[in-house]
C-alpha cells in the first residue's frame, strides 16, 4: 500500500508533465477504443451467433438481388414440400425502396432522399437485428409503434438521422416520390414513430402491404404497363433457423427446389451475407485494424516512454538514494513501471468510461456510415479495452526507462554529485 502511495506521489512530482502525458494517453486511448468499438461491432455482425441463427436468401447471380415477390410464399416455409422437410422458426422479407420528399427533379439531393424497406410489421421485433438489445423502455416504445403500423398501413417508421435531416416529427405526413428504378412508385405516409438510436438511424420502414399495393396499382396509372420491378421487387428473405444442421437442411431444400430457377437463388448465413457485403470495405477495415490501431499503440508507448525516460533521467540521484537505503534493483523497476502503469491504467479506464458515457448516453452513438451500419456505440467491454491499452502501452513504454533506473550505479551517481 505504502509502495503504491510512493508511486502515486512520484506522479505529482512534475504535474505539468504528468498532465501532458495523461492528455496524450487520453487522446490515443480514445482513438483506439473507438476503432476497437467499430471493429468489434462489425465482427459481431459477421460472426454467427448460435442464439440468433439466420439464413439469408438472395438472387444467386446478381447484385443487388431482385427476386419475384411470389418466391416469398414458399421461401418463408424454407421450400419445405415433403413431410420430413425442415421449416424455419420465423421469416422476414425485405423490399428496398429509394424515394425523395422533393417532387421537383431539379431539387433532388442526398439531403432529401429516403431509403425505405418494406417489411411485415409483425417481424420487426422478432427478426430485426439488435432488437433483443433494446432497453425495456425502448422495447415498449417499439411495441407501440409496431401496433400502430399493423393498423395504419400507410405508416412509416423512420430512422433518427433521416428524420433530423428532413426536419420531420412523429405524427407529421410525408410524401415520397420514387427515384431511379422506383420511378413512378409514390407513397403518402404518416410518420408513426422512430427507430431506437443506433444501427437503424439511416433507415426507414413501411408496411409490406402498402408497398405491394402501390406496385399492383401502378398499371392502372400508367396505361396498363407493369412497373419494371413488378416481378423483381423482393430483395432478401431472412429465415430464422434453430441451428446449423437445420440451416444446412433448409439451404439444400431451397437450392434444390425447382421453384427458384428463374432467377436462381442462393442461401447463406446472415453473417456470411453481411461479411460478403462488407468485402467492399475490406481495405478500410484492414487499415483501421492493422495500420491505425498499431500506429496509435506505438505512438502511445513512445509518448509514455519519453515522459518516463525524462523522469528517470532527472531522478537518477533519487534512485541511487533508494538503492543506498536498501531498495533492490527489482523494486526500482517496479517503482518506475508502477508509475507508468498507474498513469496508463487510470487514464485508460477513465477515458474509456468517459467515452462510453459520452458516446452512448449523450451523443447517441458515433456516426461512421459503413455498409449497413450508420452509428456505432462503445460496448461495456470498451472500458476494459481502454484499461488494457493504457496498461500495455505504459508497460511497453516504461520497460527501457525502468531498466535504466535499475542499473543506476550508486557510486558513479554520487561521484558526479561530489
Amino acid at each position: 500500500m505504502k509502495f503504491l502511495v510512493l508511486v502515486a506521489k512520484n506522479l505529482r512530482r512534475n504535474p505539468l508533465r504528468t498532465v501532458l502525458t495523461a492528455l496524450g494517453t487520453m487522446m490515443l486511448v480514445m482513438v483506439v477504443t473507438l476503432v476497437w468499438s467499430v471493429l468489434w461491432f462489425l465482427d459481431q455482425a459477421t460472426t454467427q451467433r448460435s442464439e440468433n441463427f439466420k439464413a439469408i436468401v438472395t438472387e444467386r447471380w446478381s447484385i443487388p438481388s431482385r427476386m419475384p415477390y411470389s418466391y416469398a410464399a414458399t421461401l418463408r416455409e424454407g421450400a419445405a414440400r415433403a413431410p420430413g422437410d425442415v421449416r424455419p422458426l420465423d421469416w422476414m422479407t425485405w423490399q428496398f425502396y429509394v424515394g425523395t420528399v422533393e417532387p421537383s427533379p431539379q431539387k433532388i439531393s442526398l439531403d432529401n432522399m429516403v431509403f425505405v424497406v418494406a417489411i411485415d410489421p409483425d417481424k420487426a421485433l422478432t427478426m430485426l437485428e439488435g432488437m433483443d438489445l433494446l432497453t425495456p423502455e425502448q422495447h415498449r416504445e417499439m411495441e407501440q409503434i409496431v401496433a400502430k403500423a399493423k393498423v395504419n398501413k400507410q405508416g412509416i417508421v423512420m430512422g433518427r438521422t433521416q428524420m433530423a435531416r428532413l426536419n420531420k416529427r412523429v405524427g407529421e405526413r410525408i410524401n415520397l416520390y420514387g427515384l431511379s428504378n422506383f420511378k413512378g412508385l409514390d407513397f403518402e405516409f404518416e410518420i408513426l414513430g422512430q427507430f431506437p438510436p443506433g444501427r437503424y438511424d439511416g433507415l426507414s420502414a413501411m408496411h409490406v402491404d402498402y408497398f405491394n399495393s402501390q406496385m399492383d396499382a401502378y398499371p392502372s396509372r400508367h396505361g396498363g404497363r407493369k412497373h419494371p420491378l413488378a416481378d423483381r421487387s423482393l430483395n432478401i428473405v431472412w429465415l430464422k433457423v434453430p441451428d446449423d444442421q437445420a440451416f444446412n437442411h433448409i439451404a439444400a431444400q431451397i437450392e434444390s427446389s425447382p421453384l427458384y430457377t428463374s432467377p436462381p437463388v442462393k442461401v447463406e448465413t446472415l453473417s456470411s451475407g453481411v461479411g460478403t457485403f462488407m468485402e467492399a470495405f475490406r481495405d478500410l477495415l484492414w487499415g483501421l485494424r492493422w495500420v491505425l490501431t498499431p500506429a496509435c499503440l506505438v505512438t502511445l508507448s513512445l509518448v509514455i516512454a519519453t515522459a518516463i525516460s525524462i523522469s528517470v533521467r532527472e531522478r537518477q540521484l533519487e534512485f541511487a538514494v533508494l538503492k543506498v537505503l536498501g531498495f533492490r534493483p527489482g523494486q526500482i523497476v517496479l517503482l518506475v513501471v508502477g508509475e507508468a502503469l498507474l498513469l496508463g491504467v487510470s487514464v485508460g479506464v477513465a477515458t474509456a468510461a468517459g467515452l462510453f458515457v459520452l458516446v452512448n448516453w449523450y451523443l447517441e452513438g458515433i456516426r461512421f456510415p459503413i455498409g449497413f451500419f450508420d452509428v456505432f456505440f462503445v460496448p461495456p467491454m470498451g472500458v476494459a479495452v481502454g484499461a488494457a491499452v493504457g496498461a500495455l502501452t505504459s508497460l511497453a513504454g516504461s520497460l527501457v526507462p525502468a531498466w535504466t533506473a535499475r542499473n543506476v550505479k550508486v557510486a558513479d551517481v554520487f561521484a558526479k554529485v561530489a
Binding site: K2, K9, L317, V321, F327, R328, A411, A418
Partner: protein, 238 residues
Amino acid sequence: MSSPPADGPLVRVRDVHKFYRRGSERIDVLNGLTLDVAEGEFLGLMGPSGSGKTTLLNLIAGLDTPSQGQIWVGDQLISAMSEAQLARWRTRHIGFIFQFYHLLPVLSAYENVELPLLLLGLSAAQRRQQVLNALELVGLSDRLRHRPGQLSGGQQQRVGIARAIVTDPTLIVADEPTGDLDARSAEEILDLLCEIRATLGKTILLVTHDPRAAVRADRLLHLDKGLLVEHAPASSPP
C-alpha cells in the same frame, strides 16, 4: 576463506584495492588498504579530493565492491555479496547520511524517515513507533508533515540522520554531513551525531573535510592516493 574472529573489530578491511577503467587507462583509487573499526567507535576519515575516502566509505557501506581484497562487517563478508544481497544487507545494517541530505522531495519528513522501514516487513504500528522515536531523537517531532522544501538545511540533515538511524543499523556512515551547512547548523549536527553515538552506542564512520567535524572523532585517519598515510589522534569527544 577464513572467518573473522568472533570478538574482533566490527569492520575489517583487508588488503583492499579498487581501480576503475577509463578506456584503456587504469585508475587506481585504493591500493592494498587495511583497516579495522571497533564496535562503538567514531572514526573520522580525512584527505584531499580524489584520495579515495568516499570510495572507501562506499565499499564499507556495501555501495560498491572492491576490485581485490576482503571487507567484513560483523560476521558478514560483504565484498563477496551480489548487488541484491548487498541491498538487503544495507537495509538492516547501514545508515547513510549524505552531504546534500537527498531526501525525496515529494515525501514528508515522516515519510522520508519511514522509507527504509518499508523494506523490513514491519507492521504499520511498528513503523510509526520507530519513525516517531527517530524524529524525536533528532528534535523534529513537530515537523512530521513538512516536506523537505519547507525545512532548513539543518532540519533536512536532521531528517537525513533520523532516516539513517530508524532501522537501528549496525553502522552509520556519513559522507561530509556538515559540508552543506552553516557553522551553527554544522555544530548542531555534529552534536547530534555524538549524542547518537553516546546514547545508542552506534559505530560511526565520518568522511569530512571539516576540521571541526574531525575533532569530534575518536580516531582520525588520513587517506592519500589510496593509502592510509597517517593515524592522527583526535581530541576526546565532548
